[in-house]
C-alpha cells in the first residue's frame, strides 16, 4: 500500500468523523458550553470599562484570563474554531442530503416488504380491489409504487425539505453575521442640545469600521438637535419616556426636515440607523483668567453615575497658564445625606449644584496617551480649591474664576450601518419556517398487499403518532365501499 493512498484514506476517515452526527452533537454541546464564560466575565465588546477594572482589581488573574481570550470570548480562536467546525460538519452533512433529497423528488417509494405481518399497525381486511385502494391513497396525496399485487405508499417528504431548509438557513445567518462584521460601521457621538452633527468620521467620539468598509462611505446626512425631553415618574424617579427632536438634512445642506427619535424608533437612512442610546446633563460654565478675559464658555457633557443622573465630568482648560482642570460632579436636584454627603434625588434639573475641585499644573494632554474626557490625570497637578456652586454663582480660585451659568441636555447618538442584517432576517425567517415544516410533518409509509385477504401495515418515521388513526380510517373507508 502506498502512503499516498494511506493519507487519502486517512483524510476521508477524518471527513467522515467530522460530518458524523455524533461529532456534530458534541460540537453543538461544546458551543453551548463555550458560550458560558462570555456571560460570566466582562467582555471588551460590551463593557471595556469593566474589563479595565478587572485588570486593576486582579492583575495576575486578568492576564491569565486574557491569554485564553476570556474577555473577548465570542471572537476568540477557540470559540471560532468550534462554530466553524460545527458549520463545516453541518454543510458536509446537509449538502449530500440535499442532493439526495432533490434526486428523490420524482422517485417512487421503496418496494413493499415481503412479510407485512411483522410490521407495525398490521391489519387484515376482506379482499378489496387494489385499484380502489390506489385511488384512495392518491387522493390522500401519497406517493404510490404499484406492483402487481401490492402497493407501497409514502407521504411526508416535506419533513426532510423543511429539515434541510432549516439547516441551510443557519448557514445563511452565519454568512450574514460575517457580512455585518466585514462591512458596515458603528459609532457613537455625544451631542449637546442645540448642536449640529455632520456625519463625517471626525464628528464621532468612537467610530469603528468593518475590515472591508471604506472610511469615506458614511451617508452624508447632518442633524441638529432641536430638543430633548425626558419624562420621569415623580413617585419612583423611573424614566417614562424620552423624545428627541432633530432637524435633518440628507445630504447636509439640503432642505431640513423635523424628525422624532425614540428609544425604540431609530431614524433610518438606507442600511444606516441612528439610535438614541443615552442621555445626560452638560453644565455650562464660564472660566475667566486673572485679567477677567473669558477663556472658556460652554457646556461640557458629564457622565451619569446613577438613575438620578448624579454625573461626573472634567472641565479642562489647557489654554491657561498654568493649565487648569476642574474635577467635577453635577447634581441635577441636590440633596444632602449625613452619610453619603451630597447626592441627586431626582433626574431632572430642579435644584442643580456643580461640585468642583480645582487643579493646576500639567493636564497631560500632550503625552500622546489617550485620555478620558470625563476624568483628569492629576498626577502632575496640585489642588488649589474646592467649591459647591449653585446656579449663577462664581468662585475665584486665585488663577482666575469660574461661573456656573446653566446646563443643557446631551444625547448619545449611536449610528450603525449593518448591511448584513437583512440577510440575517431572511435566514431567520427561512430557518423558523423550515423548523415548523420539519417538526410538524409526519413522514410515514403504508403498504397494502393482496393475499387471501388484503393486508395493510405502516411505518411512521421516528414513531410519531397519528399513523394508527390514519390506517384505521383507511380500513373503515375501504370496508364501507
Amino acid at each position: 500500500m502506498s502512503t499516498a493512498l494511506d493519507s487519502r484514506s486517512f483524510l476521508r476517515w477524518c471527513w467522515r468523523q467530522l460530518t458524523s452526527m455524533r461529532t456534530a452533537l458534541i460540537l453543538l454541546l461544546l458551543l453551548g458550553i463555550a458560550a458560558i464564560p462570555g456571560s460570566l466575565f466582562p467582555q471588551r465588546s460590551q463593557n471595556p470599562i469593566q474589563v479595565k477594572q478587572y485588570f486593576i482589581d486582579n492583575p495576575t488573574l486578568a492576564t491569565w484570563l486574557d491569554r485564553f481570550s476570556l474577555f473577548s470570548v465570542y471572537s476568540s480562536p477557540w470559540f471560532s474554531a468550534i462554530y466553524l467546525l460545527l458549520f463545516i460538519s453541518l454543510i458536509g452533512c446537509v449538502l449530500p442530503r440535499s442532493i439526495g433529497h432533490l434526486k428523490a423528488i420524482g422517485a417512487v417509494p421503496t418496494i413493499t416488504p415481503k412479510y407485512l405481518d411483522r410490521m407495525e399497525h398490521f391489519t387484515e381486511i376482506k379482499k378489496v380491489d387494489l385499484d380502489l385502494v390506489e385511488a384512495k391513497l392518491r387522493k390522500m396525496r401519497f406517493r404510490i409504487r404499484r406492483d402487481s399485487n401490492s402497493i407501497s405508499a409514502e407521504k411526508g417528504y416535506a419533513r426532510e425539505s423543511g429539515n434541510l431548509l432549516f439547516h441551510l438557513s443557519l448557514v445563511l445567518i452565519l454568512i450574514a453575521v460575517g457580512v455585518g462584521s466585514l462591512f458596515g460601521s458603528k459609532g457613537d457621538a455625544i451631542v449637546n442640545v442645540g448642536d449640529r452633527f455632520i456625519n463625517t468620521p471626525t464628528s464621532y467620539d468612537i467610530l469603528g469600521f468593518g475590515k472591508y468598509q471604506a472610511e469615506d462611505s458614511l451617508p452624508p446626512f447632518a442633524l441638529t438637535i432641536k430638543d430633548f425631553k425626558a419624562e420621569y415618574d415623580p413617585a419612583t424617579n423611573a424614566p417614562l419616556d424620552y423624545t428627541l427632536t432633530v432637524l435633518t438634512s440628507n445630504p447636509a445642506g439640503s432642505k431640513e426636515k423635523t424628525e422624532i427619535i425614540k428609544v425604540n424608533k431609530p431614524l433610518t437612512y438606507g442600511s444606516t440607523k441612528i439610535f438614541l442610546q443615552a442621555n445626560g446633563h452638560s453644565p455650562i460654565v464660564i472660566v475667566k483668567d486673572k485679567s477677567g478675559k473669558v477663556i472658556f464658555d460652554g457646556p461640557t457633557p458629564f457622565l451619569p453615575q446613577d438613575t438620578n443622573l448624579s454625573s461626573i465630568g472634567a472641565i479642562k482648560i489647557p489654554d491657561m497658564q498654568p493649565q487648569i482642570g476642574f474635577v467635577s460632579s453635577f447634581l441635577p436636584t441636590a440633596d444632602r445625606d449625613p452619610v453619603r454627603g451630597g447626592f441627586s434625588s431626582y433626574p431632572e434639573v430642579l435644584d442643580p449644584r456643580l461640585l468642583i475641585s480645582v487643579w493646576k499644573g500639567d493636564l497631560g494632554l500632550n503625552t500622546g496617551v489617550p485620555q478620558s474626557v470625563y476624568r483628569i490625570d492629576t498626577s502632575r497637578m496640585e489642588r488649589i480649591g474646592l467649591k459647591a456652586l449653585v446656579l449663577n454663582e462664581s468662585y475665584d480660585f486665585g488663577e482666575g474664576s469660574i461661573t456656573f451659568t446653566g446646563w443643557k441636555s446631551w444625547v448619545n447618538l449611536q449610528i450603525i450601518n449593518d448591511p448584513g442584517k437583512g440577510y440575517a432576517l431572511v435566514g431567520a425567517i427561512l430557518a423558523i419556517s423550515g423548523l415548523l415544516i420539519s417538526l410538524f410533518t409526519r413522514q410515514r409509509r403504508i403498504w397494502i398487499k393482496q393475499g387471501r385477504k388484503t393486508q395493510i401495515a405502516g411505518l411512521a418515521k421516528n414513531g410519531i403518532p397519528g399513523l394508527e388513526d390514519e390506517i384505521k380510517k383507511l380500513v373503515k373507508e375501504l370496508g364501507s365501499e
Binding site: 454541546l29 453551548g32 458560550a35 456571560s39 460590551q46 449593518d418 430557518a431
Partner: protein, 299 residues
C-alpha cells in the same frame, strides 16, 4: 376604580389562586398517597384498585383549573392596573410564567392523561407565586422607555409560554428518572403503579420539547429583531442573549440526540433536565444578579 385599587384586586386574585393551588397540592398528595390499599400478601398485585381516590384526583384537577382561572384574573388585572401587558418586571414575569406553566399542564392534562403530574406542578406554581409576591413584588408602574414596543408583547409572551412548556417537560423528565430508578431496583412502589410507563414519559417529554422548540426559536428571533430596533444590533452577546442561545443549543442538541442519534430514556432525560436548567438559570440568576441590558427585574 383607580389603578392602585385594581393592582390590589390583582394581588387578592393572586393570593386566592395560591390558596387553590395549595388545596390542589394536598388533594394530589392524598390521591398519590392513598390511591391503593396496600395489598395483603396473598392478594396478587396485578389487580390494583384505584377507584378509592378517583374522586380526590378529580377534585385536585378542579382545584387546579380554579387556581388557573383566578391566576388568569390576577394577571389580567395587573395588566389593567398598569395599562399595558403585565410583563414589565420580574414579579410580573413570574406570575405570568406560573400562568403559562399551569396552563401548559392543564392543556397536556386533557391530551395526555397527566393528572399525576399535578403534584409537582402545583408545588412549583406555589413556590413561584410565593417567591413572586413576597420577594419580587413591586408596585404596579409604567414601563421603562426601552420596553415600550409591540415586540414586548410578542417576544416576552413567546418566551414565557416556551418556558412554561420547557419546565413541564422537565417535570416529566424528572418523573422519568425517579421511576426509572425504582424500576432498576425492581418494581415500582404502589403509589407509582398508576403512572404511565417509562416509554410514555420519555416520548411525552420529547413531544413537549419538539412542540415548543420552534416557539422558543421564534422568541429568540423576535428578541433579536427588537434588539435591532432598540439597541442598534440584533445580537450582542448580552448575558441574557447568551443564555437564551445556550438554552436553544441545549434543546437543539436534545432533539438531535433523540431523533438522529437515537438517544432514549435516561440519557435523553438528563439532557432534557440540563437544557431546562439553563433556562431556569437565565431566568433566575441573570435576571437578579446578572449585568447587561436585560435588567428589567426591578429588584
Amino acid at each position: 376604580m383607580s389603578n392602585t385599587s385594581i393592582a390590589l384586586l390583582s394581588n387578592d386574585f393572586i393570593y386566592a389562586s395560591m390558596a387553590l393551588f395549595t388545596l390542589a397540592f394536598f388533594a394530589h398528595a392524598v390521591e398519590v398517597a392513598w390511591s391503593v390499599k396496600t395489598p395483603a400478601k396473598s392478594v396478587k398485585k396485578t389487580k390494583l384498585d384505584f377507584s378509592r381516590t378517583e374522586r380526590v384526583g378529580r377534585l385536585a384537577s378542579a382545584f387546579m383549573v380554579l387556581g388557573f382561572l383566578l391566576l388568569t384574573a390576577g394577571v389580567i388585572f395587573r395588566g389593567i392596573s398598569a395599562d399595558r401587558v403585565p410583563w414589565g418586571n420580574m414579579y410580573e414575569f413570574s406570575i405570568t410564567g406560573a400562568l403559562a406553566f399551569s396552563g401548559a399542564y392543564l392543556f397536556a392534562l386533557k391530551k395526555y392523561k397527566l393528572r399525576w403530574l399535578g403534584l409537582p406542578v402545583s408545588l412549583a406554581v406555589l413556590l413561584t407565586l410565593g417567591t413572586a409576591i413576597t420577594l419580587l413584588y413591586r408596585p404596579s408602574a409604567p414601563l421603562a422607555p426601552a420596553l415600550k414596543s409591540t415586540w414586548l408583547v410578542i417576544h416576552v409572551s413567546a418566551a414565557i409560554i416556551s418556558g412554561g412548556v420547557f419546565l413541564l417537560a422537565n417535570c416529566v423528565a424528572g418523573a422519568y428518572l425517579i421511576l426509572d430508578r425504582y424500576e432498576q431496583k425492581g418494581v415500582r412502589p404502589i403509589w407509582a403503579q398508576k403512572l404511565p410507563s417509562l416509554e410514555v414519559l420519555d416520548n411525552l417529554s420529547y413531544r413537549l420539547v419538539a412542540l415548543v422548540f420552534p416557539l422558543w426559536t421564534f422568541a429568540v428571533i423576535a428578541g433579536a429583531i427588537w434588539a435591532e430596533s432598540a439597541w442598534g444590533r440584533y445580537w450582542g452577546w448580552d448575558p441574557k442573549e447568551t443564555w437564551a442561545f445556550i438554552t436553544w443549543v441545549a434543546y437543539a442538541a436534545y432533539l438531535h440526540a433523540r431523533v438522529t442519534v437515537g438517544w432514549r430514556g435516561r440519557k435523553a432525560a438528563w439532557l432534557c433536565l440540563l437544557a431546562g436548567s439553563t433556562f431556569l438559570f437565565n431566568y433566575i440568576y441573570i435576571n437578579v444578579w446578572g449585568t447587561g441590558r436585560h435588567t428589567y427585574s426591578g429588584l
